[in-house]
């Protein structure tokens, strides 16, 4: 197994985000915060690990912290970086006359002013510009400005994977960090939208981005996002621990780190972890029902585990800028990030496959037969601006086409529909959806793409057993395509079944669907002309294209139900500059259907009748201006 690339990041905060209010001014917050930072540093160094110290705005006014950072840089090889988190402090509030503290939520001029201010102060104190920086989220505007003015910067914490409506709800609808839809492991952000991996050198923002946490790719997607990451205090927050005779035990944390190590198998040997715990989480007054002693023990224990992995030659600790160099030396722009992720907490056999590259982010759920339960069209490069003065003051999430948890997924009650991509099997008036066929899958890498193949499942309809195996192929090409093959493995004894591949989509960033009136549908059928022979290939004939169109109007109408040789059904969604389609060679029929006001979704379908063999289709994503 390859070595785990590890970033440990500590930020000294003189006004830690939670402590000030929680302590109510009863204790000396500054001293306590500094103590916590020193404790974190000590934990790492004792285990032989180096860190990246991200200096906060308030710390730039503390000679003591500047001195400590310089000492630790010299003694332990720690990198001194600059954080755009931890902005709030007396000096910041007086200067900017605001209580806001999230860099991506300011207007553009203020973003530039803050960046210049922070980098200028940093230079004043340290005599050089930082190579690493970060925030919970960094928008493309801020990254581009930073890179232009301070080209030294090569690495940044730029998102917190799947922190959006889930975190908002967990905090009783009060935590406005909407940044769903990004990659879970390091990536090179696009100049247009920092969620999207860069497509090429032209699109390269010049930094390597890392997420704010290494999160559980199943537990975080399914549930509360804030409890399942390589952040010991998050795990305590989720009560994922128990008491034993030797104290508090949390094997889940070690299992989580190990599953990240296991991802090397799917990424040409690359695997990664990061840990970034702000001092507020180690509050001496305790947090999340845990006394300080348990908070501190959990931090120490995880450092010990990373230290153990390092000693065993299974982990390499890196500073953020070292990680950036390493990442660029091991990755090309079109390399995908893959994760076949298993449940390690609840005791189910559930398995997800996550895929991300410059064209899309996608999740397949094998507990639902391989249904697509999350789909983000990176190929559209949606140029969302964030912050005051834009249409997205606080919502930085990259839009989905499918998000099965926010938008119902496989539908279980009597009226409506949920976003999901799957396949239905029809026989003698009965229907089964592969969403209800639980399975698992295998990963295989080919020179031209990545293949995921499910274990076969059996569908029983009107006394007929139909054994089906699904294969998903993510080709290396310049277009956004997922090839889907449904193969019938058993003898149907001459019986004919119909396979219907379907895509039920929406768009948005939350549970609530924006207006769909701008959506336009197109269906294509290529019909054989019997009046013109094909002079070159007489057997093939000449095809005539038949196209139908429809504008979304919430009337439940449908187009494109005729027979053809090659079919395609498309939805063009101007709000997110995306065209999504289901296509099939040798399909019998396709259709596009609008939803109704009570069920604001759209349906694309493509189907084929067969007595055996396979049905090949492809899901396509394109940018639509």
């Amino acid at each position: 197994m390859s070595k785990l690339a590890l970033n440990i990041i500590h930020r000294p905060e003189l006004s830690p985000e939670y402590a000030e209010r929680a302590l109510g001014g009863k204790r000396d917050v500054q001293d306590e915060s500094l103590d916590i930072f020193l404790f974190q540093q000590e934990c790492a160094h004792e285990c032989g690990l180096k860190t990246t110290i991200q200096i906060t705005y308030a710390s730039l006014f503390s000679d003591k912290i500047v001195k400590i950072a310089k000492e630790h840089h010299t003694k332990y090889g720690d990198e001194i970086g600059l954080s755009l988190l931890g902005l709030p402090c007396k000096q910041f509030k007086e200067k900017y006359k605001t209580e806001d503290f999230c860099i991506w939520m300011f207007d553009e001029e203020t973003k530039k002013e803050i960046v210049d201010d922070c980098f200028g102060l940093f230079y004043e104190k340290f005599g050089f510009y930082p190579e690493s920086t970060g925030s919970y989220f960094l928008d493309a505007f801020t990254i581009n400005y930073m890179k232009e003015k301070y080209p030294n910067v090569k690495c940044a914490v730029a998102t917190c994977w799947e922190e959006g409506p889930k975190a908002y709800h967990t905090c009783n609808n009060s935590w406005y960090t909407f940044m769903d839809g990004g990659p879970w492991n390091p990536w090179i952000p696009s100049k247009v939208n920092s969620h999207c991996p860069a497509s090429d050198k032209e699109d390269d923002s010049g930094i390597v981005a890392i997420p704010h946490l290494s999160r559980d790719l199943m537990a975080c997607f399914d549930g509360n996002g804030s409890n399942f990451g390589t952040h010991p205090q998050n795990v305590l927050r989720g009560m994922i621990y128990y008491e034993d005779e030797k104290g508090t035990e949390y094997p889940y944390l070690y299992n989580l780190i190990d599953q990240y190590r296991h991802l090397a198998k799917y990424n040409d040997g690359f695997c990664y972890n990061m840990m970034f715990v702000g001092p507020g989480w180690l509050n001496k007054a305790g947090r999340w029902e845990s006394p300080y002693e348990r908070l501190a023990k959990s931090y120490k224990d995880v450092m010990k585990y990373y230290g153990k992995l390092k000693r065993e030659g299974k982990c390499v600790d890196m500073t953020m800028s070292e990680l950036a160099d390493y990442y660029r030396s091991t990755h090309n722009y079109h390399d995908p990030e893959s994760a076949l992720w298993k449940d390690i907490l609840y005791g189910s056999d559930k398995e997800y496959f996550w895929y991300a590259d410059w064209r899309m982010r996608c999740c397949l759920d094998f507990n639902q037969g391989g249904a697509i339960i999350d789909l983000r069209p990176y190929i559209a490069r949606i140029p969302q601006k964030t912050g005051i003065g834009t249409e997205n003051v606080y919502d930085a999430s990259y839009p989905y086409l499918i998000q099965a948890n926010y938008r119902a997924g496989y539908f279980t009650h009597y009226a409506g529909a949920g976003t999901i991509e799957s396949c239905k099997v029809h026989y003698k008036g009965q229907t089964a959806d592969l969403c209800l066929c639980r399975t698992m899958a295998s990963f295989e890498r080919f020179p031209n793409g990545i293949q995921i193949k499910t274990n076969p499942v059996t569908v029983s309809l009107a006394g007929l057993d139909i054994v089906i195996q699904s294969t998903f192929f993510f080709p290396n090409c310049s277009c956004g395509i997922i090839n889907i093959k449904r193969e019938i493995l058993n003898d149907l004894h001459g019986e004919e079944v119909e396979l219907e591949e379907y895509f039920t989509g929406g768009f948005g960033t939350t549970e609530y669907q924006p207006d769909m009136s701008k959506i336009r549908f197109e269906t294509y059928r290529f019909v054989l002309r019997d009046d013109i022979p094909n002079p070159l290939f007489p057997d093939c004939g000449v095809l005539r294209e038949e196209k139908e169109e429809m504008q979304f109007a919430y009337k439940g109408r449908k187009i494109g139900q005729g027979q053809g040789r090659t079919n395609g059904a498309f939805a063009i969604i101007p709000d997110i500059q995306t065209k999504v389609g289901l296509n099939g060679d040798e399909a019998d029929a396709c259709s596009a259907e609008e939803g109704i006001a009570f069920s604001p979704v759209y349906h694309l379908r493509i189907s084929k009748k067969l007595k055996g063999g396979e049905f090949r289709t492809w899901l396509s994503l394109e940018k639509a201006n």
């Binding site: 709800h169 905090c171 035990e249 599953q259 399975t439």
Partner: protein, 86 residues
Amino acid sequence: MAQSGKGKLNYRCPRCFMRDIDMDMFFDEEKKEYYCLRCCFRGSEEEVLKLNDQYKEKYGRLKERVVDFGTDNEPPKFIPHRAGEQ
């Protein structure tokens, strides 16, 4: 009657926590009980701890350690976690 305050360990409402809401409770000194502003829960520390233990029941692998992630298309292999080991 004095206003309520936070309890010693900042307990969250166990009922809200079960629906993924972190809702800090307040402590009523007079009645010696915790209560939630978001739902109707009220109870002693003992009741809170009991419900928190119930919450953990959903974590079927809480006390287990993965020893092998297995082949792709099969579940991981677990053993009971040994206290003090990593």
